[in-house]
């Protein structure tokens, strides 16, 4: 890989706006993410964190500003959207596994139907991924038979099966019981250390301290403050950031 490629931002967002009817959820977000960076986004409920990361794989359409992912600008062009989506993996708060399919089928679905891989190849890679997230023995179970932590790890494997360049996480641990949070965070930390570009909405500050390159504090559809974990935790500039951090850190 050339250094040039590494310097070029893989995600460029400029002045992104989003309205739901009259309600403005995003009021001009700008962000650049370089390859291999881990970005943590945090902020109060309703501040637009989910909306923002969902604009990156166009689960939400932005209405003003530009988003360029891996050199492709997100427009109404359907081919662009399909191309972008196969480069981006996403992990949801509620897992959103397909309950009528086995774990293995969940993971091989996109490689088989989108990448058109033969079934054997897709299954080989799925098994490697299950190995990586630590649950190869669950391959033939249905999602309903797994614990929350196991389900979320399957969801991560499913997202990785398309060999994406970018992974989006929307509060991946907030629906989990405390004893299962760690098993999911461990997988995410391993992923971050392997060089994956990641945008993570989370309030797990331990995770942020461990692997985040930069952190963004969202409030009311705006980036209030951003910086390295050290800057954010040790010297927050904004009062709102300080207040919010003090609230979540006392928990």
């Amino acid at each position: 890989m050339s250094t040039n490629e590494n310097d070029q931002p893989i995600i460029i967002c400029r002045d992104v706006h989003k309205w739901f009817g009259d309600f403005q959820a995003l009021r001009g977000i700008s962000m650049e993410v370089r390859k291999g960076e881990v970005i943590v986004i945090f902020g109060p409920s309703g501040s637009g964190k989910s909306t923002f990361i969902r604009t990156i794989n166009r689960l939400e359409e932005h209405q003003r500003g530009t988003i360029i992912v891996d050199g492709i600008e997100l427009t109404h062009d359907v081919r662009n959207i399909a191309a972008i989506r196969s480069e981006i993996g996403m992990v949801f708060q509620q897992f959103n596994l397909f309950p009528h399919l086995t774990v293995l089928q969940n993971i091989t679905m996109a490689p088989i139907w989108v990448r058109k891989w033969p079934k054997e190849k897709a299954e080989d890679i799925a098994m490697q991924l299950l190995e990586r997230v630590g649950i190869p023995e669950q391959a033939n179970k249905f999602p309903g038979q797994l614990s929350g932590g196991q389900q979320q790890r399957v969801a991560i494997a499913r997202a990785l099966a398309m060999q994406p360049k970018i992974m989006l996480f929307d509060e991946p641990t907030s629906a989990l019981d405390p004893e299962m949070i760690k098993e999911v965070l461990d997988v995410m930390i391993e992923l971050a250390e392997s060089g994956m570009t990641m945008l993570v909405v989370t309030h797990e500050m331990g995770f942020a301290k461990a692997v985040a390159d930069r952190m963004y504090f969202f409030d009311e559809g705006l980036v209030v403050e951003s910086g390295t974990p050290e800057e954010i935790f040790e010297h927050p500039k904004e009062e709102r950031t300080k207040l919010f951090l003090s609230q979540i850190l006392t928990h």
Binding site: A82, F92, M162
Partner: protein, 400 residues
């Protein structure tokens, strides 16, 4: 000592106590109980005496085969038998493979054959060979079931087998143009339970794909498609089935060139399909709406196209949810086939009527005949709804 007594669950009341508590706990209830017992006694004894002594079942026992297959040429009955055999075997295999709803259908079929085998009838109205056939078929279903439990047959093979043998059955029943072995049989001669089943099964299976498409169409983002689907669904649902059948039999021929005469039975079937498709669409739409938005988002996020998302993620889940509703719809369609008698289709009820009219000796035996017809409908509907309800309850996680 007191604690151990407290832990023990209360004794269930003995029969005497139960009667004291529930039936004769006051003089008023006591009198009610006595009166009810007397009424029940007379009703039960009266019915039994009527059924076995005073009722005259000859319109049924002398014509049993007519109720089952109508005027289908008696020399060609083996063709119906062969079709039934194929269907039985397939149900047995499908039961082993898919359980669930196939189990319900197979059990219903077994019950029906057994009932048929013991129905009283004169030897000419229902020959011994047919009785034995009816008795053998449940065995066939069970054997096929056991075979498919033992050796898994791929679903793909099973589905092709169904399609092939259903087509084969229709050809077998209708016959082929110049064939010696299976000469054509006028569709107007078909009748009785066979036609009732044809209308119900044909109606539900053909309306199924149409209904699915209509349901998807109604939710489509293309205005033309969704307006057309909505218009079709709401129009049909706002009209009674009998009027659709009438329109089918009166109006449709007016629009067709005179050489294209479509058979009564086919016209009725088309009416049933159109009617059933509209309800099917609404049932399926209910299932589609129950699928959480997160499923679609997850499918899109891994890059599946809209088409694949619908086909692989949304529809399978939605259809699984509405299977019980579709069984319910099938049961009511099964009973609604009687309306086809209004357009001179010789289904079970119409056959019953024509049998009553055919012989002056049967005058005054309407009650027996209609009771028999009602009983047939009841056996199918009841066994189907109970078995399918039981299966719903026992559905495990793995089969969701």
């Amino acid at each position: 000592m007191t604690t151990t007594e407290e832990i023990r669950p209360p004794e269930p009341p003995g029969p005497i106590t139960w009667i004291k508590q529930n039936l004769v706990n006051s003089w008023f209830n006591g009198i009610l109980t006595v009166i009810s017992l007397v009424v029940v006694y007379y009703v039960v004894v009266g019915s039994i005496r009527w059924a076995f002594v005073s009722a005259d079942w000859s319109p049924v026992t002398e014509n049993l085969l007519l109720y089952l297959i109508g005027q289908y040429p008696r020399g060609e009955v083996w063709r119906i038998g062969l079709s039934l055999t194929m269907v039985s075997i397939l149900f047995g295999f499908s039961w082993g493979l898919w359980r669930g709803i196939m189990q319900a259908f197979s059990l219903t079929l077994i019950v029906s054959f057994l009932v048929l085998a013991v129905l009283p009838a004169t030897p000419t109205a229902f020959p011994l060979s047919m009785r034995l056939f009816a008795l053998a078929n449940p065995g066939l279903i069970l054997i096929s079931y056991l075979i498919s439990r033992r050796w898994k047959i791929p679903a793909r093979v099973m589905i092709s087998a169904w399609l092939i043998s259903l087509t084969a059955s229709i050809i077998l029943l209708r016959g082929l143009g110049r064939s010696e072995l299976i000469p054509p049989v006028e569709v107007n001669l078909w009748g009785g339970l066979v036609v009732t089943f044809l209308l119900a099964v044909g109606g539900i299976t053909i309306s199924f794909p149409i209904g699915v498409l209509l349901a998807l169409g109604r939710r489509s983002s293309l205005p033309v498609v969704s307006i057309f689907s909505t218009f079709f669904i709401e129009t049909i649902r706002g009209v009674p089935l009998i009027t659709i059948l009438f329109m089918g039999s009166l109006i449709v021929p007016l629009f067709l060139p005179s050489e294209m005469r479509v058979d009564r039975l086919i016209r009725a079937l088309v009416g049933m399909i159109i009617f059933s498709a509209a309800y099917m669409a609404e049932n399926v739409r209910g299932g589609l709406q129950a699928i959480p938005e997160g499923q679609v988002e997850a499918a899109q996020a891994i890059g599946l196209s809209k088409f694949h998302t619908t086909l692989l993620i949304v529809l399978p889940q939605a259809l699984r949810l509405v299977i019980p509703t579709i069984v319910g719809q099938f049961i009511s369609l099964f009973k609604d086939t009687t309306l086809a008698s209004g357009v001179a289709v010789l289904e079970l009820l119409q056959i019953a009527r024509s049998i009553l009219q055919s012989n002056p000796e049967y005058l005054g035996q309407q009650f027996e005949v209609y009771l028999f017809v009602a009983a047939i409908f009841w056996i199918f509907s009841y066994s189907m709804s109970t078995t399918s309800r039981k299966i719903e309850v026992s559905l495990g996680v793995g089969e969701r």
